[in-house]
Symmetry: C2
Subunit: 333 residues, 2 copies
């Protein structure tokens, strides 16, 4: 049966709490610059009290990606968990009104909706300290098998792997997708995350993943090498399509003997790197689900990433479909 | 006794929920473009469900103003009411970390923290639909008389006048300030708000207000005239200082026989007009509390307004003190 959905995302449901800080703030609070660090609710409260005035905007890696797919005009749904609190309401609103199907019911009890305290430094780098909250309770029972089976691509974020229950949910989603003959995609999410799960992930990628996203640091971490080309070679040996982002240097996509390099789309002003990888994946997945070739997929990724880094927050502020020239857009489908 | 604080603000405590919409959205939902409309919790829920993905950022007119005063390096405190919910936590955090004293305890029961659903159209105009929530419960008992008596200027927002209890709180704060020999300031807030309270306000301004802020539409509404000069004349007859903003045309300040006109500070890109009046007041009040002359006060207002309209949200994203050249900054104090 033809898929009725382009992409279903599985991820942590996180409201981003974003503040502009100076480099001293990151040093003073001993934050792991550029990375995602998991923190307890107590630590979140303490760190928040030190952060300057902030703004709140829905985030979560895979959720940002499916919001991006919808913004391109693709069809997308999301599986993740929030509490029935104010941040949860905001979260559900922001995904649904972005055009993403999101029907996992908010939990009536348990920890609050997760949030990530994001410090953006003047170099536009983002440092994330995440209290997962209700996200941790995403369970296999929350995975709608019919929904997963209806999507051309099931896209899972590596961040989920930190939690045993969520890990089981991903494994289940991947199995359902594979059984339905659909494509399975994973993003490595974060180099520290890779360090925590290297061996399990190498096995998972070999066995289950058709399309792997990573940035330079993450793929090198996976293979414990500093040699990017070596990492590319090893990576492409264990998955059908490997899509690697290199910040300002664009991306490299390898599939079997094919290798494509696509430049980044230049931005007038780099404001906040949050979501760059998520939106690259959005463009890529939208293209792939709609029959584009790998070069075009990577170009769509670059277009979406450029939009997201030119403003604060990891959800598109411009309809991504409006950034495509008409001829090119037609050639996708 | 010398005041130990520059400004204390009294206002509605509102989290802004901001979305970019097209003109059609405003028409379709019959919103009063450019104005503030009070809505019920039910209407807020229904309208929110129709709004595109949004971002949340602390707002509230007088709170924006005192955050601006603090950002200039002035000393400021705030009196307003939130619930002990997630939006309330965000609200308290954003004011305190902006350097504003805010010690009214969040309520443990009652309606949730107030929010304003703000639609920003491509012309950068903002249309506000506000569910006041816990804001409505600001009571005379919440007014810390010692705090008010310690401030050079007590600044009240006209929006509060819609609620009988809050009105009593303002009246009390104004009385305390007057008794302590301090200055009392009011902003008219909104032309519809003026229509609702014209007669009471004319009396209040004559009796109690030393410094009145308004924009062109509001001052004309107060005197039921379309002739701005006539409104200026009538306004200056009933208050010591009248500070009137005219959007791109800058501001006019009248005090007795003195009349000062100050141009607006040009902005590279007008993004979101939310908070323009609030931040003009911030600059003006900071200047006045620190001994600046009226022209300089108005210039400081223009500087702060220009910063706020060049980005989304009504709280400064740049330290306003950094926008002052050093010689000028010195001349303030």
């Amino acid at each position: 049966m033809e898929p009725s959905l382009d992409v279903v995302g599985v991820g942590n449901s996180i409201v981003d709490v974003i503040a502009m800080v100076d480099e001293d703030f990151v040093k003073q609070h001993q934050l792991a610059k550029g990375s995602m660090t998991l923190i307890s609710q107590e630590r979140a409260t303490a760190l928040y009290a030190k952060m300057p005035p902030a703004l709140e905007i829905s985030g979560g890696s895979a959720a940002n990606t499916v919001a991006g797919v919808a913004s391109f005009g693709g069809t997308a749904a999301y599986l993740g968990k929030v509490r029935n609190d104010q941040l949860g309401e905001v979260y559900v609103h922001d995904l649904r009104t972005a055009g993403v199907g999101f029907d996992v019911p908010p939990a009536a009890q348990g920890p609050p909706t997760g949030r990530s305290l994001i410090q953006v430094t003047p170099d536009a780098e983002r440092t994330m300290n995440t209290f997962l909250g209700m996200s941790m309770h995403l369970a296999p029972a929350d995975i709608d098998a019919d929904l997963v089976a209806s999507a051309a691509i099931t896209y899972c974020e590596g961040y989920l792997w930190d939690i045993a229950l969520a890990k089981a949910a991903i494994r289940y989603a991947m199995q359902v997708a594979a059984d339905a003959g659909r494509m399975v995609s994973l993003t490595l999410s974060d180099a520290y995350c890779v360090d925590r799960h290297r061996h399990e992930w190498l096995e998972l990628i070999s066995d289950k993943v058709d399309l792997l996203f990573a940035n330079e640091t993450e793929i090198c971490a996976l293979f414990e090498t500093e040699d990017f080309d070596a990492a590319v070679q090893q990576g492409s040996a264990i998955t059908k399509i490997l899509a690697l982002t290199r910040s300002a240097h664009g991306s490299v996509v390898v599939s079997g003997a094919d290798r494509v390099e696509v430049p980044a789309v230049p931005v007038a002003q780099l404001v906040d790197a949050t979501g760059a990888g998520d939106l690259y994946a959005a463009g890529f997945l939208f293209g792939l689900a709609n029959g584009a070739d790998l070069r075009r997929c990577a170009q769509l990724g670059s277009i979406a990433a450029a939009e997201i880094i030119s403003h604060v927050g990891a959800r598109p502020q411009t309809r991504l479909s409006s950034l495509l020239d008409r001829t090119a857009a037609k050639s996708i489908g």
